[in-house]
């Protein structure tokens, strides 16, 4: 186990959800520098710089808004 895998570290995540996420959501709820792309079916939020608490909160928020999370990677 090393510091790179720790719960306290910031990492760069990407989340893909089914459906379209609006820019307003990204501006209000995602860390600065988050990028959003839309392929007509799913939205990819990438370059999300945050830690465990941040990414878990974001995934739960998307879930509670009714988005289906298709993938989460870092």
């Amino acid at each position: 186990m090393n510091a790179k895998t720790g719960a306290g570290d910031r990492r760069v995540y990407s989340i893909v959800v089914r459906g379209q996420v609006d820019e307003e959501f990204v501006a209000a709820y995602c860390p600065a520098a988050t990028k959003m792309t839309w392929d007509g079916d799913a939205t990819r939020l990438s370059n999300i710089h945050t830690d465990q608490a941040g990414i878990v909160g974001l995934v739960r928020h998307l879930h509670s808004l009714g988005y289906v999370v298709l993938s989460l990677e870092s």
């Binding site: 306290g8 501006a27 709820y29 830690d51 608490a53 878990v56 739960r60 509670s64």
Partner: protein, 893 residues
Amino acid sequence: MITPPQPHLVVARLRRPIAPARAVARPGLIARLNEGLAAGRLLTLIAAPAGYGKTTLAVQWAAQVNHPVAWLSLDEADDDPLRFCTYFVAALQTAAPSLGAELTPVLAAGQPPPPAALAAALLNDLAAVEAGPILCILDDFHVIQDPFILALLENLLMHQPTGLRLALVTREDPALPLARLRARNQLTEVRAADLRFSQAEAAALLRDGMGLSLTDPDLAHLAERTEGWVAGLHLAGLSLQGRSDPSTFVQTLSGSHRFILSYLTEEVLARQPGDVQEFLLQTSILDRLTGDLCDAVTGRRNSAALLERLFTANLFLISEDDEARWYRYHRLFAGLLQSQLRRRSPEQMAELHRRAGLWHAAHNSPATAIDHALAAGDYHRVVEWLERSAWALLNQGYARKLEAWWHALPPEHRSRSLRLTLDFGWMRLLRGALEQVEPLLEQAEASLTVGDSDEQVAGRAEWLALRANWLQAGGRHAEAIEAAHQALEIVPSKDLRVIGLASLALGGAYRQLANFERSETALRRAIQASRNAGDRVTETLATAHLALMATQYGRLRLAASVAAEAIQRLTEAHTAPPILGALHGALGRVYYEWNDLQAAQDHLERGVRLSALAGHNASTIYTLCALARLFQAAGALEEASRCLDEAAALLAQGAPGWVRPELIARQVGLALAQGDAATAEMRLRAGGLDPDAPVNDHTEALHLAWLRLFLVRGDARTADLAQRIIAAAEAGGRQAALIQALLLAAQLEADPPSRAAAHLRRALALAEPEGFVRVFLDEGPTLAALLQQLGPPSWLAHVIPAARHPSLQEKAMASLAPERTEAQWGDALFEPLSARETEVLRLLAEGLTYAEIAERLVVSLNTVRFHVKEIYGKLGVNRRTQAVRQAQELGLL
């Protein structure tokens, strides 16, 4: 609908926990948090996974800030709007006791206000806190996912309250617009990376705090292995105590947090004496621990002393109060201890829960008792305790939990209790969840047994009463009346609660069918029976029905006495159900009719505030209309217009259709008062009522408005319309409308005087018994002149000179006949200004705004408005320029 008691708060949750005795000081982090406060940032976020020392840091921070601190430890049941709001306001009150005076009774009545209204009320109260901004710390905020609660906090933050600094301690980022706050520099964050213990801090914890002799390399290794995760460091320290070979042990540590945690927990457990191990495992099922409860669960007699020892030894426990009576396990360890217990002796779990349930039931905490009984699978007790406590729990904000418990019960246990089925039916009805009542009605019907025992008959009667109320709420009035009559026929005479409930449905249904006498009889019976049964909710609903109906029918004395008594009872009980705003509105309308304008204004303004808090749009709009009429009568046309704009905005948001005619009628009245007949006509046309359509109780307000416009315009249909309104109001027994129509007819037929006199005499005869006064004054000088000719009765004569404000009629006529000036009307009735009013008038003449005048005179904005209203009234004007000109002409300036 049994009377619910006052909410009962777990006060310990509003107290800051005690920092562990040997907590390591973290000056760097405290400084960062303090800088955020000093910079005026609205939100502080302490966000990290479990075991990072978040709560300890928050406690240390709170202990040294120069702000009043409000603390709230949240738990899962708080993810419920009513419960959260109740505790949130209670927490703020620990820092500012005067806060929430109007909110607390509203919450006590069991309905959370809409987030925007709640935020507005809180912001208002927070602005008045003099001790500086309150630092409100919400611990374990990750349990909150409810959109209502998040909307409330977002609403508060977006208004940038000067009186509040919010701090959230959470395992995950809340669904709040953190990115936006960050961008505006309104957010201070302390996250996992910041909370990690450095090697120096690890040394302070393990060497200085726990007396361990560790070498620097050992410390470095531990800090690395645990990544500075304090829960791991702490457990490692406990495992190392008394070991002769710390270095070897430290080297063995590796793996994930979870692995280190369970490995170390087992290590630490194994090092405790057998009885302590057993105590820890057995009590791990408890959310909160106290000596007596632990004795009951474990069968020991010395739990209090043991708890104290464990706390002092820093073993898993957190103290919840200064007196060291209540503790809880750190949540990480509670979970691990429970899984150990499940592994070692699963057969014990149910019995331990059963004992915990019994203890809580005997100590007046039914919610926890029910949770334990469910965990023990003891469904008979769950049903028994729900039967006993469901209403009290509802009022403590457990609405969501009650439904969860209901669904957790196996179906055979749910249907076993007719009592419980009916109780849930009443609760859902009270919440307005009508579609959820029907399945319960069906379920209860299936368990009704045929027979003549008192119990069987009483069950059938209550079922019929529930059904009657459900039908009535759904607009099926005839069926409701039938069911209510059936209930009343069979109900045992001693069952006053059910008599009250059935009579309430009957009265409500007759009211909707516009049968005043029958409705009144039924509602009086409902009030009497529910009062004797101690059922305050039913009593309040029946009283409100009666007061509001009496107002509609112009039974002013009845309305006033019923409403005033209900208000007094509710105030004494410190509860403000949604209907309270409507009661104040009704009373305000009566005082207005009686020409007691100050009392009317007080009640109407309170009615508007309470209705808005209750999210009761119809009542807010209806009461704003009455307030607009009052302002208009006082010459404060701008204020009147503001009220009507607010009402129109609310109507656009959604409200029942019955309030619309009242709003349009008031808008028409105001337009006519401003001499703007074109706007009045536009409003009426947009209202969609053809003036030639038949008159009934629903169209009356708009028909009267048309009549006023016709009168101004000299429309050929005026006399016919007046006659039709008179006939309809007479047939329906609606006196206020009848009097108004008669007075308009009198003005129309002023020539020959005998016709006018006949109308006037009739209006006076109708008005006197109920004390209608204002309706005469509002008609203005034409009517006043007619009354003078007739010789007004003594009860009216002494107030007629007070009718110094030109009415809409007068204004409209003035616009047609410019030679009749307001000054002439005002001269005749001029009343001297007070010293204060003269002062305000002078400042008005200087061009100061109301706010500037308030500041100059060191009074509230409302006081200035009141003075201005009085001045305008006395001068008979409705605009500042007119007031100044008038005052100059009269030599007042």
